[in-house]
Each structure stands twice: as C-alpha cells, then as structure tokens.
Symmetry: C2
Subunit: 297 residues, 2 copies
C-alpha cells in the first residue's frame, strides 16, 4: 500500500514507518518533500495512507500537521497513532575517535537537543546546520574526513554510515507522537487496531463566540459535565485576524461512545465548525528504533 | 537604555524596535543570536529591556518565546505589546527587471508567505533558502547579479539595498504581535503606557490534576463565572512526559482588577504553579513599517 512520509529516506518519519511493525511487503514507502505534501497526498489519493508527526514532548504541537489537516484536507482522518523515542546517533563515513571530530552537521533541532552531550564527547567539533538530519548524513557520506552527522538509526542503515556513538540526546525521555492518515471511509488503509486497546478521539472546532467571556469554558464544560477526559488542547490561529482561534482537542474514548456523542452534540451548539478527525487505538508503548536495524514493536 | 532583540540588524524584531516610536537616543539596540538569548539577557541584566515576537496571525504562538519565559526567566515580566504588519520587500544590490531574476533568497517562512505573488512577478526565479531574512539580504548585497532577497524595510535601510518591489505577501492581513520584556520591579524599563488604554494580562499555569476529566474546565470557569474574557489560550508541553501541559492565557483587564484578583485566587486552588507574566496596555493599532525609513506609530 502506497504510504507517504516526510522524506528523504532516513528521517524520523521514515524511522517511525520502519519501526511500526507493518507486514513486510505490505508497505510501498513514498518519500515526500514536506509534511504538508504528505497530508495533501492522502487527500488527493496519490497515496492511500500517510504517517506524520503531530506532537513532540519538548517542542509541542507540530503545527504543519494540524494546519494541513484543518485547511487543506477535509476528507482525511486519523486512523492510529505511534509514539517513537527520539534517539540521536552520531554518524560518519569512517570509524574515528570522537575527540578528533572537527565538524558536526545536523538540523538545528537535533543540534540543540544534543548540545550538552556533544560538548563532553566531541569538544573540538564545530556545529554546522543542514536542512534535515537525512541531508546531514548524505553530506557527511559524500565528504568524509573528520565530519560527523547527528542522524537516525534509519539513516545509518539507508546510507551505510558508521555509528560513532548513540544516545546523544541530553534528555532521554523525549518522544514524538505520530499519527496515521487515510481518507474517511477507507477502512482498510488504517493500521490494525490492537484488540481491547483504549481509544482516543481527535477533533477540531471553532466558533464566532470566541471573543465573549466564558465561550471556551462552555465548550469544554460539555465534556466535563459528562466525565469525558481531555488529554490535549491546542489553539491554532484561524488565519483571519489575530485573536481568533481553532481548537484541537484529544479526548479519551470513541466518537460513538454514548457520553462522547452527547458531549459532541452539546459542543456543536456553540460552534460554527466541528470536525471529528478520527477515533483510534491509543499507542500501547513507546517504540525505540534499534541502530542495527532491528526494531521492537 | 540597552534593548535586546533578535539580530542581526534588519530582522523583523529590529523593524519592530525601530517602528515603536521610542525617543531618539533613548534606545541602545543590542542584537542577539536567538530569541532565547534575548529573554535570558533580560533575566541576567545584560540588557535592561527586550522585544520578542510572541504570536503571528498565520503561524500561531512563537514557542521559543513562551518556553524561554517559562523555563529560563523567572524574574522577567511583560510590560507592553506592539502589533506589526508583516510586510515583505524584494531587495537587490542593483535595480533590474523582475522577470530577469534568477534566484530569490530568504528564510523558508517568507518564501512560503510570498510564493503565489512571486510566481507572478518573477516566474523565472528559483527560491533558495537562507538562515534568516537579514542573512539573505547580506548574501545578495555581497554577490549581486540577478539575485534578490525577501527582506524587511529595516534591512533595506541598514544594508543599503535597492527595493525592487514591496507588498510581496500573499496575505496582506498577516501581523506579528511583539511583547516588551523587563525585570519585575524595574518600572522605568517598560514603554510608556498610553493613558486610558485597555489592559491585558498574561499568565501561565499548570496543575497535577491535568489528567482528570474537567480539570481544565474548572480552571477556566474561574474566569467565566466572573465575566473575565480570555483572549488567548495556548498549551505548551511541560517537558516531563507527553500529555502534560503548561497553559498560557491572556485575559482582558489588569491583574489587580477586583474580578481578575478573585479569578486568579480561584485558579490558584487548582494549580501547582501560577505565574502572572504581567499586565500592560493593549496595542492601539497595527504598525506598518515604511520602506523609506519613515514609520507610523
């Protein structure tokens, strides 16, 4: 099944796709140029399924994903989630001592997330910025010498890089949550849901009443009164004027649970738009990608 | 007064500082390397005042600002706000026809925000990415030829660039909201507040109860019950584990207004932390920076 992800090969999105444990041969992985392109490719049918990051424990919401779903993909739904540990490796063309490294290349975010560890491991190295971790690994493989890249286990495997060190991240608890996308009604495009797993529902709403005192409270009260737990709330600009927002909510339960049905009916009375983005199984555990290529699910 | 901003000269932050209408000679502008550095320089006293972007009408919250305030600047407060129209200019070393341009350099965000207009104005040009709009203008001034940069009016003035076109933005309503920073208690560091202007208060809170149904509603109800209007809510990760958040709120009124005092007292009973980031005058109007260097306030 054609499955879109943020490319090139070796990105965190690619690592998530490889680590998902889908049956061998079932995935036709399609690298795309941006998160927006992945969401829109699912909408247009160019790919039947997509995987995109939606939230990081340190950085927060991935706004490109939320906005593409809201503004450019009316028929795309969330069919599952996957939580991946953010695990940074130091990759080079050739084996070499860390304290001789002169340059370390990566995207600004991993450079920041590994800064403390790298000051200890490779104190001589100068950080240099690349457009993505995958591009950084490509650059290092092309140039060689006393240069290393911060990259993923997937990039090490795809580009045949030598792993100089792993676990570079200053904060080992960092994780990224990915979601699976498909067109609404295409039941077969989603990942198999674990039997009996608890469910989560994602939705987005906005209302013209958002300038009045208490509007948001009235909206959220619909859930509180019925004991429905909210696990995330994220505001995004409505793109009309400063001060007006869309709200992305995640809640415990399925959209067809009786309490949730009642809460959504109540919410809709306060809103101009209310869209259910999907109900899906909560990820059972955090996945760690192994640098040898083995992965646990 | 030493005033920190995100440099180098010619950034949007620099443009906001120039457009603020502060008395000539009163500002000793100090360019710093990142938004985080600006916030921390105010905290440490390296600068007495700072100006940082906090929200954009299209992109949403500037998370670097929110997180630096929350995690690294316990003594910094907001003392004012300024709303600047996002106005993109096409800059080059020499006057030349637009349809002969081969390369247009800028930060990815302005390239995206001007994509449609540029396809019409300069259909032959290839977009090339730079680390900032100011760096793009420097590159173009150094290399010359059929190259142009998307940059600010401030950059045109600082680097002596030729303005080939202005108003490149596809969405002319885009604005960025900046806030002034000072250390708590340093009353003289803030901008002069317009007499009689309506006030806004910014605060941040979190509570261990955030996993329970209705916790956030109980928090927000404290404002709704008392008729206090919320103008912004933004969740940010608590950085401990996925699913726990800090909430940034803006509300109409001052922290010492009786209704607000009562609401904050109520809120504090639900929270582990509650910090008032400041009360300040609401910006009266959107500022437009003129490309000739004149500015309206």
């Amino acid at each position: 099944m054609r499955t879109g992800y943020l490319g090139p090969e070796g990105t965190f999105s690619h690592e998530a796709l490889l680590a998902a444990g889908l049956p061998e041969g079932e995935v036709d992985a399609v690298p795309l140029a941006s998160i927006h392109d992945v969401v829109v490719a699912v909408q247009s049918g160019e790919v039947r399924r997509g995987i995109v990051p939606i939230e990081n424990a340190l950085e927060g919401a991935v706004t490109a994903t939320l906005d593409a779903l809201t503004f450019d993909a009316p028929d795309v739904v969330l069919t599952g989630e996957l939580v991946l540990a953010v695990h940074h490796l130091l990759l080079a063309r050739d084996a070499q001592p860390l304290d001789g490294l002169e340059v370390i290349v990566s995207h600004p975010q991993p450079l920041a997330q590994c800064a403390r560890t790298l000051r200890t491991l490779a104190p001589q190295a100068t950080p240099v910025v690349a457009t993505s971790t995958a591009q950084a690994v490509r650059d290092v493989m092309a140039e060689g010498g006393a240069r290393a890249a911060i990259g993923t286990a997937a990039a090490a495997r795809v580009y045949g890089a030598h792993v100089l060190a792993e676990g570079l991240e200053d904060d080992p608890s960092n994780v990224t949550r990915f979601v699976w996308l498909a067109r609404a009604g295409d039941g077969e495009a989603g990942p198999p849901a674990p039997v009996g797993a608890p469910a989560r529902t994602s939705l987005v709403f906005h209302g013209d009443g958002d300038g009045r005192a208490g509007w948001l409270v009235r909206c959220l009260s619909e859930f509180a009164f019925r004991g429905v737990n909210l696990t995330k709330i994220q505001s995004r600009p409505l793109r009309s004027a400063l001060g007006h927002y869309l709200f992305h909510l995640d809640l415990d339960g399925r959209a067809d649970d009786p309490d949730v049905v009642a809460a959504l009916a109540g919410l809709s009375t306060h809103c101009e738009t209310l869209r259910i983005l999907g109900s899906y199984a909560v990820a059972a555990a955090t996945i760690r990608a192994g640098h040898g290529g083995a992965h646990t699910t």
